[in-house]
């Protein structure tokens, strides 16, 4: 029997605390579409994706309506195109990206991920062709998301890949200069990329995941923040241990909502249910922010001393609550700190509370990495590669996923505003110390060896 307060607390979570399911992502394996003929390949992938995803949006809407919980984003991830399209040249891969863009439009989804390559130990012909196709592919499409994995804990860091990606990011920014380098907002560079992550822009379907699968990304920063504020309002004697417990309990509830909806969507579509990704993902809406959680925890702003400890506690509590709620947890599962996508974090950067260096240190204890960070357009390839390499090293050494989604904004300097629109948000360009350096380190190439797995300290 449900009690009145239970009904009302659930309604409150939906009505005033922005509880929703952030992303239901249908993963579609494209290995059975492989052909060396471009038209055949394009026809095959269209047929397969549309067959599986034709009813994705309507099914998500229908299930969301049934439970009174909005499924905000419906998306598709595919097998890495560098693998299934390894036979194609760069220009052909651009055409494939455009076909994917058109397929996304056909099935009415906003993003399709999987224009990806896995190059942590080296770049094959198809990988290189895809990376070289990225600037044009991202500039000529709106819905295609790309990712390149350049490091893993077991393989080390492919420094040739890192430098290549820095050059590619600069080119992608140049080709979308009139949109403040928007192409780079759809491109992630990864260490330890997950095979089943539902969140864009880094979503792709790993080769070991199966034929078609529904992965769900839950959210709920607003719910967590309100839970902290409500309990602190009721009791001034809470310890951080008790607050962590509160975050854990809240995260458990949010995860169960995601799993309920994901399983039902999967059942309706006749595909397997994969994982719930527990990440707290913000939007540029007030009340739906990770940054605001830091303030609820008594910090002036995200980025001030204490922020890394607060984030570590938040991230761990979210994982614990989610792991208890669902046996199928995957993806990134933690807290996102994307600068432009979170109004509060963007403001913290503008007001000088959050520096790039502090952001990097915080990525040691949370999921993702340097996410949606606009930097001066004249940053050198070497400096950009250095930032990427640093972030990859954090992921490699700590056996966790890290990524960069850095946008060098052409023609703009630190402090100037950029507008990406929609969920991608807006921010001021962050100061990058020594951004004009052309240090030799990243140009040596080769691979930084995989770390030792014992003697941990």
């Amino acid at each position: 029997m449900l009690e009145d307060h239970e009904i009302l607390s659930t309604i409150e979570m939906v009505k005033n605390e922005n509880l929703d399911v952030r992303a239901v992502t249908l993963g579609v394996n494209l290995f059975d579409c492989i052909s060396s003929d471009l038209d055949t390949f394009k026809s095959n992938i269209r047929k397969k994706i549309v067959t599986h995803a034709g009813h994705l949006v309507s099914t998500c809407d229908q299930v969301g309506k049934k439970y009174g919980i909005k499924v905000v984003n419906k998306r598709i991830s595919t097998s890495p195109i560098a693998l299934v399209g390894a036979a194609f040249k760069t220009a052909q891969l651009v055409e494939i990206a455009q076909e994917l863009n058109d397929i996304a439009r056909t099935v009415n989804i906003d993003f399709i991920g999987g224009f990806s390559a896995l190059v942590e130990k080296g770049m094959a012909t198809g990988d290189l062709a895809l990376i070289e196709a990225l600037p044009e592919a991202l500039a000529s499409t709106q819905r295609v998301c790309a990712s390149v994995n350049v490091a893993t804990t077991r393989a080390g860091i492919n420094m040739d890949g890192v430098l290549k990606m820095a050059q590619t990011i600069k080119q992608a920014a140049a080709l979308t200069a009139d949109e403040d380098g928007l192409g780079c907002a759809k491109l992630c560079v990864f260490s330890n990329i997950p095979q089943d992550m539902p969140f864009m822009a880094g979503s792709m379907l790993g080769p070991g995941v199966g034929d078609a699968v529904i992965n769900v990304g839950v959210s709920g920063p607003g719910v967590v923040k309100k839970a902290i504020e409500r309990n602190l309002g009721e009791s001034h004697s809470l310890t951080l241990g008790q607050i962590a417990e509160l975050i854990k309990n809240t995260s458990c509830k949010v995860t169960r909502v995601g799993e309920l909806i994901g399983r039902e969507v999967a059942q309706e579509l006749g595909v397997r249910f994969g994982v719930v990704d527990l990440s707290l993902a913000p939007t540029p809406t007030v009340g739906d922010s990770i940054g605001e959680i830091f303030q609820a925890l008594g910090l002036t702003s995200i980025g001030v001393p204490g922020s890394t400890a607060a984030l570590a506690m938040l991230n761990d509590a979210v994982k614990k609550g989610g792991a208890f709620a669902s046996s199928h947890v995957g993806g990134l599962s933690g807290a996102f700190i994307p600068v432009s996508e979170d109004l509060n974090i963007a403001r913290a950067a503008e007001e000088g509370y959050l520096s790039l260096e502090k952001l990097e240190s915080m990525t040691c204890v949370c999921s993702v990495g340097l996410d949606m960070v606009p930097v001066p357009g004249d940053i050198t390839e070497e400096c950009l590669a250095g930032i990427i390499a640093d972030e990859m090293a954090i992921g490699m050494i700590n056996t966790k996923t890290t990524a960069t989604r850095i946008i060098p904004v052409p023609g703009k300097k630190a402090g100037e505003k950029v507008y990406f629109g929609g969920l991608l948000g807006e921010a001021s360009i962050m100061e990058v110390p020594h951004h004009l350096l052309k240090d030799r380190f990243v140009t040596f190439g080769g691979r930084i060896p995989a770390p030792i797995h014992s003697l941990k300290n």
Partner: protein
């Protein structure tokens, strides 16, 4: 074996359940189900009772009324028609309809009227109208069963339309969402 339902109404106070169940025990009756609720200060209790072979309904009513009326309680006893009882599983789905918004006369009548028109059975209803401007102080929560023959979309739209007309926030959610957020 005869089965009866005993309904007890009166001002709430400690000891009502003990009083009624004690007398039923003394009469060698077997309780099958008991439920009670308190609305503001008024008590309502329901007892489904198996009678022993040597006792009839009239005797129980006479005995309970004699004991309870003096305590300010009204007792009603009815025969329970077990012929209608069915073991068929419920095939419908359970939804919660929650309305939040300003108090006004006729809210329950209007919303329950729509549910009746669509043949949706209300299995639980709680309504609190404290008046005033606080929307959370004026809430109705209906638990309804929706069988496969019911025009679900039509019912939901009619409820929402009524909500718009009366300036109420109407939320319609499957029961499972409340279970997953509140029950482990």
């Amino acid at each position: 074996m005869e089965k009866i339902i005993v309904t007890v109404l009166g001002k709430d106070r400690p000891g009502i359940i003990a009083l009624i169940s004690g007398h039923l025990y003394n009469l060698d009756c077997n309780l099958e189900n008991v439920n009670q609720m308190i609305l503001q200060n008024e008590f309502a209790g329901f007892f489904i009772v198996d009678l022993p072979e040597n006792l009839n309904m009239e005797a129980v009513e006479k005995e309970l009324s004699a004991k309870a009326n003096g305590q300010g309680l009204n007792v009603y006893v009815n025969r329970l028609d077990t012929d209608d009882a069915t073991d068929e599983p419920i095939t419908g789905e359970t939804f919660f309809i929650t309305t939040i918004g300003p108090d006004q006369k006729g809210l329950v009548a209007r919303f329950s009227g729509i549910m009746a028109r669509f043949n949706a059975n209300i299995t639980n209803l709680k309504a609190v109208f404290k008046g005033g401007d606080d929307p959370m102080a004026n809430i109705m929560s209906y638990q309804i069963d929706i069988g496969p023959d019911i025009d679900k979309a039509g019912l939901f739209e009619a409820l929402k339309a009524k909500g718009r007309e009366l300036n109420l926030d109407v939320r319609i959610q499957h029961k499972n969402i409340f279970n997953v957020t509140n029950k482990i």
